[in-house]
């Protein structure tokens, strides 16, 4: 339990540095702290499937982001001033207040940490091997019980790659 809190504090610090840093390269590396911290949390919570995906995705997205930085600029040039800055801070504060109020209401109905509701997951755990024949329960759930979700996820990735190829194409662009 204590290691989870330490990792969470580290991740929050990394996220704050990534937001506030003016050097984009150090911002991306601080963003990596969040991703790799999440990997460690998945390992601590005994989810190796997610940890494998998370560590590889994090490494690859860091490489892609650093490639984008090397191609463009290293300086964060956004300027916030005057009314825009006040509006941004007030909006953030209002969101935080509303979020905390709704969380206070919602927390009463959540099960305690480490004792999840097993209304759906219980039958999956019991009948997963028998119904699908897959020894890896995660594969049984994402490809059999929850196939729709996985198809949607694959479609999201497909659309993202299509978007990148379409935006960064050479042929048929005006300038």
């Amino acid at each position: 339990m204590i290691e989870l809190y330490l990792l969470l504090i580290l991740m929050i610090l990394g996220a704050i540095i990534a937001l506030e840093s003016r050097n984009l390269l150090s911002a991306i590396i601080s963003l990596g702290i969040v991703g790799f911290g999440l990997t460690l949390i998945f390992l601590v919570l005994q989810a190796p499937d997610l940890a494998i995906v998370q560590i590889v995705v994090e490494t690859l997205s860091l490489i892609i982001l650093i490639a984008a930085i090397l191609k463009t600029t290293r300086e964060d040039t956004t300027e916030e001033w005057g009314a825009k800055k006040i509006f941004l801070y007030l909006g953030g504060l209002a969101f935080l207040v509303i979020f905390l109020i709704s969380v206070k209401g919602a927390l009463k109905f959540l099960p305690p940490f480490g004792e999840p509701l097993m209304r759906m997951a219980g039958p999956y755990l019991k009948l997963g091997l028998e119904k699908t024949g897959a020894a890896n329960l995660v594969a049984a759930v994402i490809l059999d019980f929850r196939g729709y979700d996985t198809l949607g996820e694959a479609a999201v990735l497909f659309t993202a790659a299509m978007g990148v190829i379409a935006v960064l194409r050479k042929i048929g662009r005006k300038n």
Binding site: I63, L129, G133, N136, A140, D144, T150
Partner: protein
């Protein structure tokens, strides 16, 4: 995109094949061990990204690679969708597991789940590689 030094090139050539094989292993054993199509596909893409980063790539060949990656990505998601639709046509149920389940803990078991994993692995690997090669082509294009 320019390549790196001889040391990096040699090491990358030696290692990328092993990474590729490991990715295929993760995809094929997705229904038995941790991993599956998503993780394995990304590892396969990582093998290609390592090769491109170390060896460098000419602009013309990058365009061809981009088109091939695009084809691989589209066919991967098509395989996955087709497997789902096959269940709908034959058994009137989307994502019906229509192949025999086989013995548990064996490589050929669990019906269509390994085939779905192969489709997802192809889609994920090719999509990530397509994104990477598109950015790489953009970089060489700007320098000229």
């Amino acid at each position: 995109m320019k390549g790196m030094t001889l040391i990096v090139k040699t090491i990358a050539r030696l290692i990328s094949g092993l990474i590729f094989l490991y990715g295929i292993y993760i995809v094929l054993h997705g229904h038995l061990t941790p991993g599956g199509g998503f993780a394995g596909g990304i590892i396969i893409a990582g093998a290609f990204v390592l090769l491109i980063l170390s060896e460098g790539s000419k602009k013309a060949s990058s365009e061809i690679k981009k088109q091939r990656a695009s084809v691989g990505e589209s066919s991967g998601i098509f395989i996955f969708w087709l497997l789902a639709m096959l269940g709908l046509f034959t058994g009137s149920l989307f994502f019906l597991n229509l192949l025999p389940k086989g013995k548990a803990y064996h490589l050929f078991s669990a019906g269509i789940i390994p085939l779905c994993n192969i489709g997802i692995g192809l889609e994920v690997g090719a999509a990530l590689f397509a994104i990477f090669i598109t950015l790489a082509v953009l970089k060489t294009g700007e320098k000229k």
